[in-house]
C-alpha cells in the first residue's frame, strides 16, 4: 500500500528544511486544485505532502520602492479584490477575473499557477507581460529568475525539488499600468484556455516606446513574443503596423492541435487577440 | 483508553483487530465484525443467546473480554454451515420446527454443538442438563431437545468444526 505523509511546517525555514531532506519525494500543496486531481489520476506519487498554506510570510500583496511583491500564496480572489493591482497592474486583475471559476479562485494561488507550469496557466501570461521576477529560496540559498526563463516544458520549470517560490515581483511603471488581457476558451467559466494573450504598452505621441506581449496555450510553455516586441519597438502605431504585427504574432506562436482547437485556429486567434488588445490599449 | 491489537481465528479465518481492554467480545463480534448472528439478550449471562464457541467450548460472549480471545479460536453461528450446506444440527432444528422466533437459535445450536462433541451419544436427560443455560420462550424446548437428540446418532461426523 501507498505510504503518504503529511506535514504542515510552521515556518518557511522549516518548509525549506523538509524540502532539502525529502527533495523529489515531497510535493508542495497549497490550493490543491491541481495536486488532488493529479494524485487521483496517479500522475504524481509523492511520499510526503508539504502543506504550506499556514505560512503567513508567503501571503499578501506588498508595495515597496516602486515594486510590488506578491506572496506566492496570494489567492486569485485576493488579487481580484486588490485595489493597487487594479490601478497599477490591470492586466493581472483582468486575467484573474477569467481564472477558473469563483469558488476555485478562493483557494487557488498565484504561486501554484506558476509552478504547475501548464502551457495554459492563465496568470503566467499577464505576469510575463508585467516582466515579473520569481524569487526562489532553498535552505541557505536564494535566487531570482525572470519569469521568462522560469518555464522549461509543459509542467516543468527551472525550480529544483528543494526550492520554494517565495515571491513574485514586478515594477511600478507606465508600461505595467497600461495592459490588456484576452482569453478565448470553450466556454465562459471553468474553461481551459484555447489561447490567451496579454499586452503591456508604453507609447507616446503614437510611437511605441516599449511593448511586452505574452501568450498562453499556444506553445509548450507560456511565452513572450519577443520577436514581435522587437519589431514594434519605436514604430508609429497605425493600422498597417497592427496588421503586419498580427501576422507576425500568428507566426511566432508555436501551438499544437488538440481537442480544444487546431494549430491553425490557435495561430489565427492569437493574432486576433493581439489586435483586440492593442486596439483597446491604444484607444 | 489505549487500544491493543489482538489476533484470533474467527470461523476459520485469521482476524486482526484493535480492542480496548474493557471491550466485550459480543460487541466486537456484532459492531466491529458485523456478525449479527450472535444475539444480545440480557448482558448478564442469564439467557445464553450470546453463546459462541471459544476453542470449541461454549462461552457467553457478553461476559467475555475481547482481549482474552487473543490467539484463540472463535466460532459463531455464521461459521457452522459449509457454504450452502447446513450443519446437521441446523438441519435438524429446521426439520423439527425447533425454530420459532429464532432469537435463541444461534446460542442453542452452538451449545448443542459443544455438547455433541463432548458426549456424542447424550441421553435426553443429559441434553436437558447441558442446555439449561440457554433460555427459550417460544418452543417449550420440546422440539429443540428432539432436534439435538436426532443428531446424537450421527456420531462425530462433522460436528466439531
Amino acid at each position: 500500500m501507498k505510504q503518504i505523509k503529511y506535514i504542515s511546517p510552521r515556518t518557511k525555514e522549516e518548509a525549506l528544511e523538509v524540502l532539502q531532506q525529502e527533495k523529489d519525494r515531497a510535493c508542495i500543496v497549497a490550493g490543491c486544485s491541481n495536486v488532488l486531481p493529479n494524485l487521483k489520476d496517479k500522475k504524481i506519487a509523492p511520499q510526503i505532502l508539504v502543506d504550506i498554506t499556514t505560512l503567513e510570510s508567503l501571503k499578501g500583496i506588498f508595495k515597496k520602492e516602486g515594486k510590488i511583491l506578491l506572496g506566492p500564496l496570494t489567492t486569485i480572489n485576493e488579487l481580484i479584490s486588490s485595489k493597487i493591482i487594479l490601478e497599477e497592474y490591470p492586466v493581472l486583475t483582468q486575467a484573474a477575473r477569467e481564472f477558473a471559476d469563483p469558488i476555485v479562485r478562493n483557494t487557488a494561488t498565484v504561486g501554484g499557477n506558476l509552478v504547475t507550469a501548464s502551457p495554459a496557466a492563465d496568470l503566467a501570461v499577464p505576469l510575463l507581460s508585467l516582466d515579473a521576477i520569481v524569487k526562489i529560496e532553498s535552505l541557505g540559498d536564494k535566487r531570482e529568475v525572470n519569469l521568462i526563463n522560469f518555464f522549461t516544458a509543459p509542467g516543468e520549470t527551472i525550480l529544483n525539488s528543494h526550492e520554494l517560490v517565495v515571491g513574485i515581483e514586478f515594477k511600478q511603471s507606465d508600461i505595467n499600468k497600461n495592459g490588456c488581457f484576452m482569453k478565448i476558451g470553450q466556454r465562459k467559466a471553468m474553461a481551459i484556455s484555447i489561447a490567451t494573450l496579454a499586452v503591456n504598452l508604453d507609447w507616446k505621441e503614437n510611437t511605441i516606446n516599449q511593448i511586452r506581449i505574452a501568450a498562453g496555450s499556444v506553445a509548450p510553455t507560456p511565452l513572450r513574443l519577443t520577436g514581435v516586441e522587437e519589431f514594434l519597438k519605436n514604430k508609429k502605431l497605425n493600422q498597417e503596423l497592427i496588421e503586419e504585427a498580427v501576422i507576425k504574432v500568428s507566426k511566432e506562436v508555436n501551438p499544437i492541435s488538440d481537442i480544444r482547437a487546431s494549430e491553425g485556429y490557435r495561430r489565427y486567434i492569437s493574432g486576433i487577440l493581439f489586435k483586440r488588445a492593442i486596439e483597446r490599449l491604444a484607444n | 483508553m489505549k487500544k491493543m491489537e489482538i489476533e484470533f481465528i474467527l470461523n476459520g479465518k485469521k482476524r486482526k483487530i484493535e480492542v480496548k481492554p474493557n471491550d466485550l467480545l459480543i460487541n466486537i463480534i456484532r459492531e466491529d465484525l458485523y456478525l449479527t448472528g450472535t444475539k444480545y439478550g440480557c448482558g448478564l449471562g442469564e439467557c445464553g443467546v450470546c453463546t459462541v464457541l471459544l476453542n470449541g467450548e461454549p462461552v457467553l460472549s457478553c461476559l467475555t473480554l475481547a482481549i482474552t480471545v487473543d490467539g484463540k479460536e472463535i466460532t459463531t453461528i455464521e461459521g457452522l454451515a459449509q457454504g450452502d450446506e447446513l450443519h446437521p444440527l441446523q438441519k435438524a432444528f429446521l426439520k423439527n420446527g425447533a425454530v420459532q422466533c429464532g432469537f435463541c437459535t444461534p446460542g442453542m445450536i452452538l451449545t448443542a454443538t459443544a455438547l455433541l462433541r463432548e458426549n456424542p451419544d447424550a441421553t435426553e436427560d443429559e441434553i436437558r442438563n447441558y442446555m439449561r443455560g440457554n433460555l427459550c420462550r417460544c418452543t417449550g424446548y420440546v422440539q429443540i431437545i428432539k432436534a439435538i437428540k436426532e443428531c446424537t446418532s450421527i456420531k462425530n461426523k462433522g460436528l466439531t468444526n
Binding site: 500500500m1 478565448i184 470553450q186 466556454r187 467559466a189 484555447i194 481537442i259 485556429y265 486576433i272 | 458485523y34
Partner: protein, 764 residues
C-alpha cells in the same frame, strides 16, 4: 368537475425540501455494516481478443473478497430489454454481455469485477488483474462499417443491426414537380448525458435471500434482467430505486446494477459501487452520432413537395436501445411538415466506439437538426420569411404525419407556437461592438410522448385513504429530477380534496410498489398520471356513494374539495371527509385501489415501411433564439432563447417551465459545445474539463411560453414535455448563426473554430 385547486398551480415539489436541506439520500448516500467496495476493470482497447485473464495476484491481495470474470457470471450473454412486461414488441433486443468474454468491443467495456474491504484496496487490486490482449483492427466509422468486408464488431455477418423505412407518394415524381431542390449532408456527434450524479448503488442480500439493489434507475423493471443474468427467479431480485441526480436516458439501460448483484451474490456481503466521472463518460451510453443526407424539393411559393432522407447512425459496440432510437429518428425525419412525396431510409450500424442508446430526445434531435436547417435554407433561397415558410407547410389539426400517415385528431398547436416564440423574440438587439453580428433563428418540431404503441404499455398506481384522512400512494415510478413523483401526489390531492401535506408516497420499489413502467419516452405524467387519476377517482366514487346515502343527496350533486364532501348547488351543506371515511370503514367499503392504465395498443408495424399509429400522441413546439456571433473569433453568445410548447395542461407549471428551460439549455450545449470525441475508439474527452457543458455564464435566461390546449392524452389534457423541450434548439441556433453571418454550420457542435473556418476558409 369544479374548479381545479391544486392542478395547474405552481406548487413547490414534494421532494424539493429534502433536496434543499441535503436530507435526500441518493443511491450511494448510504452505508451498511461490513460493506465491501466494488470496482470494475475496463478494457484498454476498443477492439481486441482477450487471450487470457489472470486474477491470481488480485485475489491474493489482502482485503480482496472476490474477483469475477465472464466465467463466473451464470448467464453472461443475454439480451438488452426495455422494461416491457409482455412479449409484445419483441425482436428489437440485441446481445448484451455482462462481462467481456474472448473479445472486447469498445474501450471501457467491463472485463472483471472486484470487491474489497476498502475503496483503496479495491482501487489498488483492480490493477493487479492481468489481461493479455491481442489488438484487432476494429472499425470506427459507421459508413465504413456498413461496407461489405468491413471488420465485424460482433459475431454476426453484418454490422448493420437495424434498418427502417417510411415512404409515401412517388419520390421521383415529387422531385420532378419541384422548382427548387436542396441537397445536403448533416452530422451530429456523440453526446454525454453529463448528469451530475454518476452511476452508483449499493446491494445486499436480505433475510429472504433476495438481492436488494439500491440504485438510481429510470427502469426498475430491469430487476428481471438482473435475475436472469444470475439465473434466479425474478422475485429474488429487488430494486429499491432512489431519486436520481439526473438521468436524461443515461440511466435507462442497466448501469452498475448487474455488477452489484454479482458481487453481493458472490461475497454474501453488502457492496457499494460508484463510478468515477471518468468511468461514467467512458462506459455508459452516448447519444447517437448521425450522418444525415437530405434532399428536399419545394415549389417557388415555398410549398414542400418531396423529401428524401438517408440516416446512418453509429450504434457503437452493442445494440442496446439503438433500434428503437433509430425508429424514432425515422418517424421524425420529415418533421412536422406536410409533404406529399416522402422516402426515408435509416441504417443503424455497429462500430467499436462506445455504445449509444437513449439520450433525452431519443432519436429526434438528430434529424430535427437536419430538416430544420434545410427549411431555413429553403426560406433563404426563396426569400421567404422563416416563420412564413413554416406556416405554409406545417401540420395542422386533422392532417397526417408525412412519414407514417398517423392522423392528428386533437389540436395541433402549429403554427401557433411558432408565431408566439418568434414574436416573443422581438426586434433584433442592437450591439455597438463592431465585431459582433446579431442573428435570429427559429425551429419547430414535434415529438412523441408515451412509448411506441406496439409495446402495449401500461402503468399502475395504488392509492389508500387512511382513517385519519391522510393518503398513502405506492407507485413504481422512478423520479430522475423532473418531478415525476410529485405529479402523482398532486393528482391524488386534487381528486380526493386533501392538501399535499397529507400525502405520503412510496416510489420505485419493485417488491412493494405497483410497477409503473419506465421513466423514459416522456411517458410518466401521461401514463402514471392517468393510473393515479383512475385509482383516486375510484376511491372518490366510493366516498361519494356513501356520502350520498348519509346526506340524502344524489351522487351527481356531490363533489369533494378541501377535505369535505360538498353539495354542488349548496356549498354550505357538506359532510367532513373524515365522517365519510369513518362510515365507509364501518361498512367495509374499500378505501384503497390499485389501478392500471393502458396506452393504446397496436400491432408491430412493417419496419421497411412504417405506417399508421406508432405513438399515442405528439407534443408540438417551437424554439426561437437570438445570438451574437463574433466575426473574428467565431464565438457565439446566445442573447435570447424562447421555448413555446403546447403542453396540453401544465399540472405543475413550475415543473413544466423547469423542463422547458432546462431542456433548452441542454440543447444549447448540443448546439454549441458538447462533443464526446472518440478517435479510433479512444475517448479523448474523459472528464468535465474536456467534456464541456454550459455553465451559468454561458447561457441566457431562457424564456418559457406555455400553451395549454387541453388536448393531450394525459390527466386533465396534459401532454409530455421532458424530451420535446430539448429537441429543436440546435437548429434554431444554427439558423440564427446563418442569419447573423451567412454561414451554415452543418455539423455540431458549432464551435468558434468551425464558424471561422466556414466563414473565412483556411486560416492564414
Amino acid at each position: 368537475m369544479s374548479q381545479l385547486k391544486i392542478i395547474g398551480k405552481p406548487i413547490s415539489r414534494d421532494d424539493a425540501w429534502a433536496k434543499a436541506k441535503g436530507e435526500l439520500k441518493y443511491a450511494d448516500d448510504f452505508s451498511l455494516p461490513g460493506m465491501l467496495y466494488g470496482k470494475v476493470l475496463h478494457s484498454k482497447y476498443p477492439a481486441a481478443k482477450i487471450i487470457s485473464i489472470n486474477t491470481e495476484k488480485a485475489k491474493q491481495f489482502s482485503g480482496v473478497r472476490a474477483v469475477l470474470t465472464a466465467g463466473d457470471v451464470p448467464h453472461n450473454e443475454t439480451v438488452t430489454r426495455f422494461g416491457q412486461s409482455s412479449e409484445v414488441g419483441k425482436g428489437f433486443e440485441g446481445l448484451y454481455r455482462v462481462l467481456a468474454d474472448k473479445k472486447v468491443r469498445f474501450m471501457g467495456e467491463a472485463i472483471a469485477l472486484l470487491a474489497a474491504d476498502t475503496e483503496e484496496i479495491a482501487e489498488e487490486a483492480i490493477n493487479l488483474i492481468e489481461v493479455e490482449y491481442e489488438p484487432l483492427p476494429g472499425v470506427f466509422d459507421p459508413v465504413e462499417a456498413m461496407q461489405p468486408g468491413a471488420y465485424l464488431v460482433g459475431e454476426v455477418d453484418s454490422n448493420i443491426i437495424a434498418q427502417f423505412g417510411c415512404a409515401q407518394g412517388d419520390i421521383e415524381r415529387g422531385f420532378k414537380e419541384a422548382d427548387i431542390i436542396i441537397e445536403d449532408t448533416y452530422k451530429v456527434p456523440f453526446v454525454d448525458h453529463a448528469y451530475l450524479e454518476t452511476e452508483s448503488g449499493i446491494a445486499w442480500i436480505d433475510e429472504n435471500s433476495v438481492i436488494n439493489i439500491r440504485v438510481g434507475s429510470q427502469v426498475i423493471e430491469h430487476f428481471r434482467d438482473v435475475a436472469d443474468v444470475l439465473g434466479l427467479p425474478h422475485n429474488r431480485v429487488r430494486y429499491r430505486g432512489t431519486m436520481m441526480g439526473g438521468g436524461f436516458g443515461g440511466k435507462e439501460d442497466i448501469t452498475v446494477e448487474t455488477y452489484l448483484a454479482l458481487l453481493t451474490w458472490k461475497t454474501k456481503k453488502p457492496v457499494r459501487l460508484v463510478y468515477s466521472r471518468e468511468e461514467s463518460i467512458l462506459c455508459h451510453s452516448k447519444r447517437h452520432p448521425f450522418i444525415m443526407h437530405y434532399k428536399v424539393g419545394a415549389k417557388k411559393d415555398g410549398k414542400l413537395v418531396a423529401l428524401e432522407a438517408e440516416l446512418i447512425s453509429d450504434a457503437g459496440a452493442y445494440p442496446y436501445l439503438s433500434p428503437w432510437v433509430n425508429l424514432y429518428a425515422t418517424v421524425n425525419a420529415a418533421g412536422p411538415y406536410c409533404i406529399p412525396h416522402i422516402k426515408v431510409n435509416t441504417y443503424c450500424v455497429l462500430t467499436n466506439n462506445t455504445f449509444t442508446s437513449a439520450n433525452r430526445g431519443f432519436g429526434a434531435p438528430q434529424p430535427n437538426m437536419a430538416y430544420e436547417s434545410i427549411m431555413d435554407e429553403l426560406a433563404h433561397q426563396l426569400s421567404i420569411n422563416p416563420l412564413e415558410i413554416r406556416r405554409i407547410n406545417c401540420l395542422t389539426t386533422g392532417k397526417a404525419l408525412s412519414t407514417t400517415g398517423q392522423t392528428f385528431k386533437t389540436y395541433v398547436a402549429l403554427p401557433e407556437v411558432a408565431e408566439k416564440a418568434w414574436e416573443a423574440l422581438g426586434n433584433p438587439t442592437r450591439i455597438k461592438d463592431k465585431y459582433k453580428k446579431v442573428g435570429q433563428g427559429l425551429a419547430i418540431g414535434l415529438m412523441s410522448y408515451g412509448r411506441m404503441t406496439f409495446l402495449h404499455d401500461s402503468s399502475r398506481c395504488y392509492v389508500r385513504l387512511e382513517s385519519d384522512g391522510s393518503i398513502l400512494i405506492r407507485s413504481g415510478i422512478p423520479d430522475l429530477g423532473g418531478g415525476q413523483v410529485s405529479i402523482l401526489c398532486q393528482i391524488v390531492a386534487e381528486e380526493l380534496g386533501v392538501p399535499m401535506s397529507k400525502i405520503n408516497i412510496y416510489y420505485s420499489d419493485t417488491a412493494l410498489t405497483p410497477l409503473a413502467g419506465t421513466t423514459t419516452a416522456t411517458r410518466q405524467t401521461y401514463m402514471s398520471g392517468n393510473a393515479a387519476l383512475k385509482a383516486a377517482r375510484e376511491i372518490k366514487k366510493r366516498l361519494i356513494y356513501k356520502a350520498a346515502q348519509m346526506m340524502n343527496v344524489h351522487t351527481d350533486n356531490l363533489d369533494i374539495g378541501e377535505e369535505k364532501i360538498i353539495v354542488k348547488y349548496k356549498p354550505s351543506q357538506y359532510l367532513p371527509l373524515i365522517e365519510a371515511i369513518k362510515a365507509c370503514n364501518a361498512d367495509g367499503i374499500e378505501l384503497f385501489c390499485e389501478a392500471q392504465f393502458n396506452g393504446p395498443f397496436t400491432m408491430t408495424p412493417d419496419l421497411s415501411n412504417i405506417r399508421g399509429m406508432i405513438f399515442p400522441d405528439f407534443t408540438f413546439g417551437a424554439q426561437a433564439v437570438e445570438i451574437a456571433v463574433d466575426i473574428e473569433t467565431g464565438e457565439v453568445e446566445v442573447l435570447k432563447l424562447v421555448t413555446c410548447y403546447d403542453v396540453g395542461k401544465a399540472i405543475n407549471p413550475l415543473s413544466v417551465e423547469g423542463q422547458m428551460e432546462g431542456g433548452s439549455i441542454y440543447g444549447l450545449g448540443y448546439a454549441l459545445m458538447e462533443e464526446v470525441i472518440i478517435k479510433d475508439g479512444v475517448t479523448l474527452t474523459p472528464s468535465f474539463s474536456e467534456y464541456i457543458i454550459p455553465t451559468s455564464a454561458d447561457v441566457p435566461e431562457a424564456k418559457a411560453i406555455l400553451v395549454e390546449s387541453g388536448g393531450g392524452l394525459g390527466p386533465y389534457g396534459a401532454k409530455g414535455i421532458g424530451e420535446p423541450a430539448c429537441s429543436i434548439i440546435a437548429p434554431a441556433i444554427l439558423n440564427a448563426i446563418y442569419n447573423a453571418v451567412g454561414v451554415r454550420i452543418k455539423s455540431l457542435p458549432a464551435t468558434p473554430e468551425k464558424i471561422i473556418r466556414t466563414l473565412k476558409g483556411q486560416f492564414n
